[in-house]
Each structure stands twice: as structure tokens, then as C-alpha cells.
Symmetry: C2
Subunit: 106 residues, 2 copies
């Protein structure tokens, strides 16, 4: 892989899973199917707006699935798509490095 392509690929990955909330959301969704409110409760510091926004972006990138139950009050379930599962490896490697880094700087 060329150097330029390498750079672009890393940047693209960062666009999909980078930022303040995406990795956290992804992390919680690796546990399984979650409702909106559940995710919100898992992440007390995220605002509803931010959570919705991150979920929409992940959905558009094909990473997560959004299943709406037409009932009142509303019920919406989020889960990783099969494609989203392929991110697991990336997240694992990042977590590994981060964990060792944390030990190093401690």
C-alpha cells in the first residue's frame, strides 16, 4: 500500500470511529442490542442530541442497525451490523495499545 493511500485509509477509519463519543457508543454496542434509553443511561455525560447524532452517523456508515418498533411510547433498538462487527479488531488493537500506554505513563 502506498504511503498516501495508507494515510488516507487511517484518516477514513478515524472519521468513522474517531471523535469523543463514537468509540464509547461502539463499545457499549459490542455488548449486544441496546435501546436508546439504555445507551443514554450507559453514558450519563452524553446529551440526547449528541447520542442521536452519533448513532445516525454510525448508521449511515453501515456500522449499526436501527430497528424501530411502531408503538407508543416509542421503542428503538440499536445493534452492530455484521459489517460493524469487523471493527471489533480495530477497537481491540487500539484498546491493547492504550492499555499498555496507560501502564507506561503511570
Amino acid at each position: 500500500m502506498g504511503d498516501l493511500q495508507f494515510k488516507r485509509s487511517v484518516e477514513l477509519t478515524l472519521k468513522v470511529i474517531g471523535g469523543k463519543w463514537k468509540p464509547v457508543v461502539l463499545c457499549h454496542l459490542t455488548e449486544g442490542v441496546k435501546r436508546f434509553g439504555e445507551l443514554k443511561r450507559d453514558m450519563p455525560d452524553i446529551t440526547q442530541k449528541m447520542l442521536t447524532q452519533q448513532l445516525r452517523e454510525l448508521e449511515q456508515d453501515g456500522i449499526i442497525d436501527r430497528k424501530i418498533y411502531t408503538q407508543v411510547p416509542p421503542k428503538v433498538e440499536y445493534s452492530l451490523t455484521e459489517y460493524g462487527q469487523t471493527l471489533r479488531g480495530v477497537l481491540d488493537v487500539m484498546a491493547d495499545w492504550g492499555f499498555k500506554h496507560e501502564e507506561r505513563i503511570r
Copy 2:
């Protein structure tokens, strides 16, 4: 690894290699030792201020080494530390995923 720890580790990694310029800088430094001006030329769109800033942060994180030659005009060489080399795997996995993702969305 606990879920909370996993999340924290991923976030820490992102703090070290995330942002607009860090991955690009890192990518260029995997090619070997580079002078400041060389890096600047490799990245025409980065400002001197930003480049300096990113390099300082990477240095503080122990990822890169800064070698100053006391001569005029100044000469400063940047390179990956041994520790910085351990990021290679992380970047590789990210590049792999990003590459496949790019193919997917094309």
C-alpha cells in the same frame, strides 16, 4: 479487560494518535528520520504552528524523538522512538480497515 477499561484505553489511544494531523505526521515518520522542513514540505497544508504543536505533543507522549543540531541555520531531526514503533501495528490495522471501507463505499 473490563468494559470501562476498554473504553478508557481506546480513548487514550485516540488522544495520542487522533486529531487532524497526528496520523499524517506519524505516517511520514514511519519512513525514517525527517527534518522539520522536510515534514513541512511533505504536508503542504499544515501550518508551521500546527506542525510544531503536533510534534511537541508526540514528543511528550514519548512517540517521537527530537534531535537538535546546534548550528545555523537550525537543524532539527524528528524520528519515531522505539516506543513509537509500537504504534505501527495500530496504524496498520486502522489502515487495513479504512482501505476496505473505502472499497465498500465506492
